[in-house]
């Protein structure tokens, strides 16, 4: 019997030897920490879907220079604590080449140093400027900076002759960062904030807040929050008969929010990447082919409307693929390749990275959009 066991073991060993040559090259491990569920799932869910779609697509082509991508997606649920432990796990145990995400600014700031110390590339999908300012060697981000969004809004207000505004924001990291930006640069544009309110991000009705804005006689309102509050404030303002323009943050970039707010969404003005208006862009626009391809692929695969947030993950993965294709699988060389990448056309804009700019986008990556008949259109 002993002999039989030995033969069996030998047989197994041979099996593994026959199987293993299929993985001729080691797979490139790419980690992702995304808020797939929880309060920020409107960011993380489309990001995770996008990454999975891209990884499958790249692997179906035969990988990057013959190396397949092994995508490890971790659901942080929007919790910074989970993001920290996942970051450590991905860096120390899985030894990933790069981490895409996290979805929110709060989480990203918590793992910025962990990525830096672990010498692992971090491609954040979150908006806050502090992620790349000051620059950390290994930390990049793909969404447009929130300071650009605030500037764009104020420039638009100047055009419309608006001077007295009300600012309302949710009490989460996103709302807080936006509020600070708006407060900081308002004087530069000659705009006075006469009402400034922070509300609970889970608020179910904001009529009282809207009443306060109405009493302050503002010429326009800027709301900086995520769903559902950004739809609720729109409804409550209109219900109170307020007709002043409502500006929203770039967090409004999902057609679902327009549907949720119904008629109240009409006329909302907000800055966003061009993905939402890809169809109506002129043919000369460099981004148009990239945007249309992503939109088509995503909508065909997941049967839901594309959002700008998934686009941030798209850009992160494409930048990484591009850098690996150029520099191989050495982590340091890939990092250098990203830092020196110029003119990369993504969904968020045209990226020009440098040693001092790890975002690579400028203010014109944002377009001012508005809602007309339940659709996003470019504001004219």
């Amino acid at each position: 019997m002993r002999g039989a066991k030995f033969v069996f073991a030998a047989f197994l060993l041979m099996c593994t030897m026959i199987v293993s040559p299929v993985f001729a090259k080691d797979a490139i491990k790419v980690g992702a920490i995304l808020a797939v569920t929880g309060p920020a799932s409107f960011l993380g869910a489309p990001e995770a879907k996008t990454l999975q779609m891209l990884a499958d697509e790249i692997n179906a082509k035969g990988g990057i220079k013959g190396s397949k991508i092994e995508l490890i997606i971790k659901d942080s649920g929007g919790s910074p604590e989970k993001a920290i432990s996942f970051a450590k796990q991905l860096i120390e145990e899985d030894k990933v080449m790069a981490i895409i995400g996290p979805s929110t600014s709060g989480e990203t700031m918590k793992i910025k140093n962990i990525a830096e110390e672990g010498k692992t590339i971090l491609l954040s999908c979150a908006a806050a400027e502090v992620i790349v300012n000051p620059v950390a060697k290994y930390v990049f981000k793909t969404p447009q900076k929130d300071s650009f969004a605030a500037q764009k809004i104020y420039i638009q207000m100047q055009k419309m002759g608006i001077k007295k505004i009300g600012v309302v924001s949710g009490n989460d990291g996103f709302g807080k960062a936006g509020k600070e930006q708006l407060e900081k640069i308002a004087p530069e544009y000659g705009i006075e904030i006469v009402a400034n309110e922070v509300y609970d991000k889970d608020a179910t009705d904001l009529t009282a807040v809207a009443t306060k804005l109405k009493a302050a006689n503002v010429q326009a309102v800027v709301n900086w929050s995520i769903v559902p509050a950004q739809s609720i404030i729109a409804k409550n303002m209109r219900q109170l008969g307020m007709t002043v323009p409502l500006f929203q943050s770039h967090g409004f970039g999902n057609i679902k929010y327009v549907q949720a707010a119904g008629d109240a969404a009409e006329g909302i003005i907000f800055p966003a990447g061009r993905l939402l208006v890809a169809d109506s862009l002129p043919q000369s626009n460099k981004q148009k082919p990239v945007l249309l391809k992503y939109k088509k692929d995503y909508e065909a695969k997941f049967k839901e409307d594309v959002s700008t947030f998934g686009g941030h993950a798209y850009d992160a993965m494409m930048i990484l693929e591009n850098a690996i294709a150029k520099a191989g699988t050495d982590k340091e060389k890939v990092r250098d390749a990203i830092e020196n990448m110029k003119g990369f056309v993504g969904t968020g804009g045209i990226f020009n990275f440098s040693a001092t700019d790890h975002n690579g986008l400028d203010r014109d990556a944002f377009e001012m959009l508005t809602v007309k008949k339940g659709k996003f259109v470019v504001l004219k």
């Binding site: 009705d205 009529t207 559902p228 209109r238 109240a264």
Partner: protein, 296 residues
Amino acid sequence: MNIELFFQYLVAGLTYGTIYAIVAIGFNIIYNTTGIINFAQGEFVMLGGMTAVTMNRFMPLPAAILTAVLCTMIIGALIEIVFIRWLVKPSVLRLIIITIGLSIVIREAALQIWGESVRALPYFTGTAVSAIDINGVFISPQVLWVIGISSVIVVALNLFFSYTLPGRQMRACSANRDAARLCGINTRNMVTLSFVLSAGIGALAGCVVSPITYVQYDSGAGLAIKGFTVAILGGLGNSMAAVAAGMLLGILESFSIWVMPTAFKDVISIAILLLILFVRPSGLFGSKEAFSLKEF
């Protein structure tokens, strides 16, 4: 502060108050028959809203709401029959942990079924922007729906508990379960009935408020906390007191926004809850003697 603004804050307060009260009533019904706080009450509200939104795709709004309420009632009954009915003299702590566990399970199941997106039923009358203008005070028609349906629920509940046999049996159970059993009342069925009833009320509430508040898989927890605060504030087990307490809290919150930054709104409600728990744990309208007899 002019008179229009005053009434505008008042209307906002009444809206908040009614929403809180209707959730609190659901807590009270189950508390009355079982002596436990059902921490899955907020999930009933969420389930009602979510199911109605889904059903509304296939059928007109009233039918969708009816289906949603019935579905949630069945879920309420199943929860009681599967997880609670067979327990022999369970401790209060054990029941609380069971309901907390259930609320997490329902939330996660909803996430799998409906995804993370935010939904809402259409406005029952008018649209999201329509409002009734009464001398410069604007009221959304949906607010009137919420207040109207809540009033109907409260009146119907009072009639049910005062004049119908099952209603009286349920009250007997809450007064003294052993004595009720000796009188031939099937107390176990009464507990099931209380779950069905509070699930139905929660679901109806979820449908009516969803155009205003929206509904997503985790919106139950927030509503449950406010509803719980109101139930405690009024005195656990007393539905009319819950309505009064709901109004009080809603109006206080609304006017607090007038004088203070909005961020302090929840500080007000939690501070009131703590104060009540320290000074009058039986609630504003509850009697001390009755409270001392309760096991929880």
